[in-house]
Symmetry: C2
Subunit: 347 residues, 2 copies
């Protein structure tokens, strides 16, 4: 018969509950997990007895049995100098906010893996069923490490790699490039340069393709500069200095990495030129860094809340589902025009 709540409930086993309820261990297990064929009244009684005893299942033993962690990881491989700064991991944390809600709807916990070298160990030890990687580079270390462990991975943004691409949410990077460049042209920029990172990421590749198509269609000379992402704003500033030295006619710069764009604005102003009157600047991610720049940066709304939810659902599908899509096209990016590229009234 049920005793009073045990003091050390964690030591109680399923056998104790079975004994107290006068049923088999299997019946207890089925009743508590709402599985199997158990008479509803018996199920109720077992649950009551378990509650009275203060029995709690041993989660770790359960996991060992089911092989499920019910956790997924969110991983960013963007260096902290780009991911951090005033936006303090803005892109990743914006994704994380929506992703944790979407994960919860699937009964999954969301584990954050920061873009730091020390995270290597964590990636090896995390008890997870899957991972969402944000905009991985080709031959991304984190992706490789997770795949070695047999962890299911999907990415936000295509991983630029040959055949065996990860399932991914298409961020429509080409369209992002197109609307930014078209906006610059509409505002009067005729000599637009592109400043991207050195890593092989989909966003740079798509952006470059959009830029080349745009330049060709308008007979505009192609001017592409690259900077090391790890250098952050400083690298963007240095790249801008070189660009303006070599191509003094430039009147528009598209710098999809927000840290680079802030460096560009700083350099343009340091040279005594005005943004946007002399040089118009646009970036991609509409985070705090873009919004707090002086002048505020024109950017793109990537609809990261929807993107995050799509990514979690795609991952869940690959962990559990029978239907497994390879590519899910996200919502179309939309322009957020700001003072860094919009001509002041009267000009």
């Amino acid at each position: 018969m049920p005793e009073s709540p045990a003091r050390d409930a964690s030591r109680l086993t399923i056998a104790d509950v079975a004994k107290a309820a006068g049923v088999s261990r299997t019946t207890v297990s089925h009743a508590l997990n709402d599985r199997g064929q158990v008479d509803p009244r018996t199920r109720e009684r077992v649950k009551q007895v378990a509650a009275q005893l203060g029995y709690r299942p041993n989660l770790r033993a359960q996991r060992l049995r089911t092989g499920r962690a019910n956790s997924i990881a969110l991983v960013s491989s963007m260096p902290i100098s780009v991911a951090g700064g005033p936006s303090r991991l803005g892109f990743m944390m914006e994704v994380a906010g929506s992703a944790m809600e979407a994960a919860l709807k699937q009964g999954l916990a969301l584990v954050l893996v920061p873009p730091l070298e020390a995270a290597d160990t964590l990636l090896d030890e995390l008890d997870i069923d899957g991972a969402v990687v944000i905009e991985p580079a080709a031959e991304d270390r984190n992706v490789a490490q997770l795949q070695r462990r047999g962890v299911q991975v999907v990415s936000i943004g295509r991983q630029p790699e040959g055949d065996e691409a990860l399932p991914y949410i298409d961020l429509q990077g080409h369209e992002t490039g197109r609307i930014l460049l078209q906006h610059l042209a509409e505002q009067g920029a005729g000599q637009i340069a592109l400043l991207i990172g050195t890593q092989p990421r989909h966003s740079y590749i798509d952006m470059e393709r959009a830029y080349r198509a745009f330049a060709e269609a308008r007979g505009m000379p192609v001017v592409i500069a690259r900077a090391d992402e790890a250098g952050g704003e400083t690298a963007g500033q240095a790249a801008c200095r070189a660009l303006l030295e070599q191509h003094p006619a430039i009147d528009g710069i598209c710098a999809p990495v927000d840290a680079f764009a802030v460096g560009v604005v700083r350099q343009v102003q340091a040279q005594g030129l005005r943004v946007p009157e002399d040089i118009k600047v646009v970036t991609r991610y509409d985070g705090l860094r873009a919004q707090s720049c002086q002048p505020a940066l024109t950017a793109v709304n990537l609809h990261l809340d929807e993107i995050s939810t799509l990514a979690i659902d795609l991952l869940f599908e690959h962990i559990n589902g029978r239907v497994r899509r390879r590519v899910v096209v996200g919502p179309s990016p939309s322009l957020v025009a700001r003072a860094s590229s919009v001509n002041p009234a009267g000009n």
Copy 2:
């Protein structure tokens, strides 16, 4: 002797490695985990054999043995109508960004638990060593649930409760109130009202205490309104309407919940009054909601990055340490003055 890498490496056990390396299982375990007395050459050889076989330790079995999850949770119990909105969980995600880095330094993964009812199940099932709860209310459901499970909890901001308070990072809520009220007075507000939430949270309690002390020192009438946090901006707006009806002489409103403050600005403007000329408005958390409000809201820099790191370190101390502090005083809050309360030049 070592074979070629096994296809299904997950089936390999420590016994397979022991056999291949010609040593005992204990030696393999010690060698792979860098524990115990193992000859350095043997250790190296065992590691090599394990790598060649493609052996990976069974994490879940290991956890069952060590009793450690090496994961901690970050939990917010603020309703989504306050935590969400334009700032999209701003406060929580700002804490999360720094907390995940601090956790990583301690070798811990950070799991996010969103402020949603469905998270109840997650809180029962998460395999975690501890949790940081953001500004819990008295008798907070999440805290109670975690404590029932025996999970170590620390809080950011004191949990207002009798004797058995959680270890916490002191957010200096009284000081936050003091600097906001003093600022309003300096800008010329003489009849300041306080608008806080209905839940018993430290931030409201400290703010109310600061407000009462301030009012008493200046002989200012005490006008305190409360709104339901779950009502978000709409609740703030309704509370402001009632406030202005009953106290038409009010020329300053301190609304520490940012959603309420946005509602206040909306209501003041809807009544044809001007912010800040007629009524000055200030809030507490300097997030996207405060920054994107029209006019932008005066707020307080709570130094959440440092606060988050202190919280993770305090939690780690309570999970592992011999010294266990109950209270850690965080950095002092500092004013971020903006257009919602600063008189335009020339006034």
